[in-house]
C-alpha cells in the first residue's frame, strides 16, 4: 500500500512536470506565431506597456524640469567631485615624489659636488639604535676605496665621524657623538671655546660654568673637524645650585634622516688655533653676511660721504 502510494505520487509529479514543459513550449510557439502573423498588433500592444517606462526613463535623463535636473546635477556634481578628489590625490602623490627626488638630488649634488678632494659616496645601511654603539654602517668598503681613519661627511664639509672598521663591502663609522669622543667647539652667542664630549644618540655635550649665558639655539662650530656649523644647542641643563651647566648639541641633519654620506680618501689633519680662528671667521662671513648690492645697502660708510658733501655745499653757500 505504501509502495503503491509513493509510486503514484512520483508518477503524478512526473506527469505534472511534463505538463509544465508542454505548457512552456506551447506558450513560446503561440508567442512566435503571434509575432509572425500580427507583428503590428503585437507592437502596438507592446508599446502600451513599453512607452510609459521608456518615457519616464527619458524624463529623468533628459527633461528640463526642476526635479530631474536637480537629480542629474547632483549626480553630475558628485561624480565631478569624486573625479577631482582622485586627481588631487594623484597630484599630491606626484608632488611628494617630485619633492623627494629633488631633495635627494640636492643631497647627492652636495655630497659629490665638493671640489678639492675625491670622495666616495656611500649609502647608510645601519644607524644608531639599529646597530650597537653610536655607529653608522655604510655600504662601501675596502673594495670601493674606503680606508680606516678616513673622515665621513654629510653635505659639503660637515664631518660626522671617522671610519673605524672597513670590511670588503661595508664599513663602520664611529660618530663624533660616540660616548667618550672629545672635540673643541666654539659656541656662537656667548662666543666661547669649550670642549664637547659625545654622549651617544647623536648628541654632543658641552659644559660651561654658571654665569655664561648658554641658550637653546646657540650655534655650535667644530673648527677642528668641520667647515661649517655643526648644529645648535637643543637643550640646556642648568641648576643654580651647581657650579656648571650643560648644553646638548644636535646636528642640523638628524641621524635618522641621513641616507647618504661621502667618505674622504685623505686622512684628517690637526688644526692650529690660528687656523681655527680663520675657519670661524669664514663661517661667520659665509653664514651671516649676505652680498647686498651697494646701491641698496645702507651703511655708516655710505652715510659719512653724504654728510661731507652737504657740509661742502653749506660752506660754499656761506662764501657766496
Amino acid at each position: 500500500m505504501k509502495k503503491f502510494s509513493s509510486i503514484t505520487r512520483v508518477n503524478s509529479r512526473r506527469i505534472s512536470q511534463n505538463k509544465k514543459r508542454v505548457q512552456i513550449a506551447v506558450v513560446v510557439l503561440l508567442c512566435l506565431l503571434a509575432l509572425f502573423s500580427m507583428p503590428k498588433v503585437f507592437r502596438t500592444v507592446a508599446s502600451v506597456v513599453v512607452s510609459p517606462v521608456v518615457m519616464t526613463k527619458s524624463w529623468f535623463a533628459e527633461s528640463g524640469s526642476s526635479f530631474p535636473q536637480y537629480l542629474r546635477n547632483r549626480k553630475e556634481l558628485l561624480d565631478e567631485l569624486a573625479l577631482m578628489r582622485t586627481e588631487l590625490a594623484a597630484t599630491g602623490g606626484e608632488r611628494h615624489t617630485i619633492k623627494t627626488l629633488a631633495q635627494e638630488n640636492e643631497e647627492l649634488r652636495s655630497l659629490l659636488g665638493y671640489e678639492g678632494e675625491e670622495r666616495i659616496l656611500a649609502g647608510v645601511i645601519g644607524r644608531p639604535g639599529n646597530i650597537p654603539y653610536d655607529s653608522l654602517m655604510i655600504d662601501q668598503g675596502v673594495s670601493d676605496g674606503v680606508r680606516e681613519g678616513a673622515p665621513v661627511y654629510i653635505g659639503d664639509g660637515t664631518v660626522i665621524g671617522i671610519v673605524k672598521n672597513a670590511a670588503p663591502q661595508t664599513a663602520l663609522v664611529e660618530l663624533i657623538t660616540t660616548p667618550g669622543f672629545e672635540a673643541t667647539v666654539f659656541i656662537m652667542g656667548p662666543d666661547i671655546y669649550t670642549n664637547a664630549v659625545g654622549v651617544g644618540g647623536g648628541q654632543l655635550r658641552v659644559g660651561v660654568p654658571q654665569g655664561i649665558e648658554l641658550a637653546v639655539g646657540d650655534m655650535v662650530v667644530l673648527p677642528s673637524i668641520t667647515s661649517g656649523i655643526y648644529g645648535e644647542v637643543s637643550v640646556v641643563q642648568s641648576e643654580p645650585t651647581r657650579p656648571e651647566q650643560y648644553g646638548f648639541v644636535s646636528p642640523h641633519t638628524p641621524l635618522s634622516g641621513i641616507r647618504f654620506v661621502s667618505v674622504g680618501t685623505t686622512p684628517m689633519q690637526s688644526v692650529s688655533f690660528e687656523e681655527a680662528q680663520q675657519i670661524l671667521g669664514e663661517i661667520r662671513s659665509e653664514f651671516f653676511m649676505v652680498p647686498v648690492p651697494e646701491d641698496i645697502l645702507i651703511d655708516t660708510e655710505s652715510g659719512s660721504s653724504t654728510a661731507t658733501s652737504s657740509l661742502e655745499v653749506s660752506e660754499e653757500s656761506v662764501d657766496i
Binding site: 513550449a25 508567442c31 509575432l35
Partner: protein, 82 residues
C-alpha cells in the same frame, strides 16, 4: 503579491534598465517561479525593439529555451533542500 511586484520590477528593468541587471534578475525569477509570463515579457521586448532586426524574436526563443532548461534542472538543484 510578491510575485506580481517582482514581475513588475523585472518588466521595468527589461524595458528600461541595464542588461547586466536585467539578465541576472530574470534568471533568478525563472528559477524561483518557472512561469511562462517571462516568455510574454520577452515577446513584448522583441516586438518593440526587435522589429526589423536580422535576428527576429531572438529573446522569445532564448527565454523559452532557458525556461525549459531551468525547469528540467530545477529538481536536481532542489535535491539539496530535501
Amino acid at each position: 503579491m510578491i510575485r506580481i511586484i517582482l514581475f513588475c520590477v523585472l518588466t521595468v528593468l527589461g524595458l528600461a534598465g541595464p542588461v547586466w541587471l536585467f539578465v541576472p534578475a530574470l534568471l533568478v525569477y525563472m528559477f524561483l517561479y518557472t512561469s511562462v509570463e517571462v516568455v510574454l515579457l520577452a515577446a513584448f521586448i522583441d516586438a518593440y525593439y526587435g522589429y526589423g532586426s536580422s535576428l527576429p524574436y531572438l529573446y522569445t526563443l532564448s527565454t523559452g529555451g532557458v525556461l525549459l532548461l531551468i525547469h528540467i534542472l530545477r529538481p536536481h538543484f532542489l535535491v539539496y533542500n530535501r
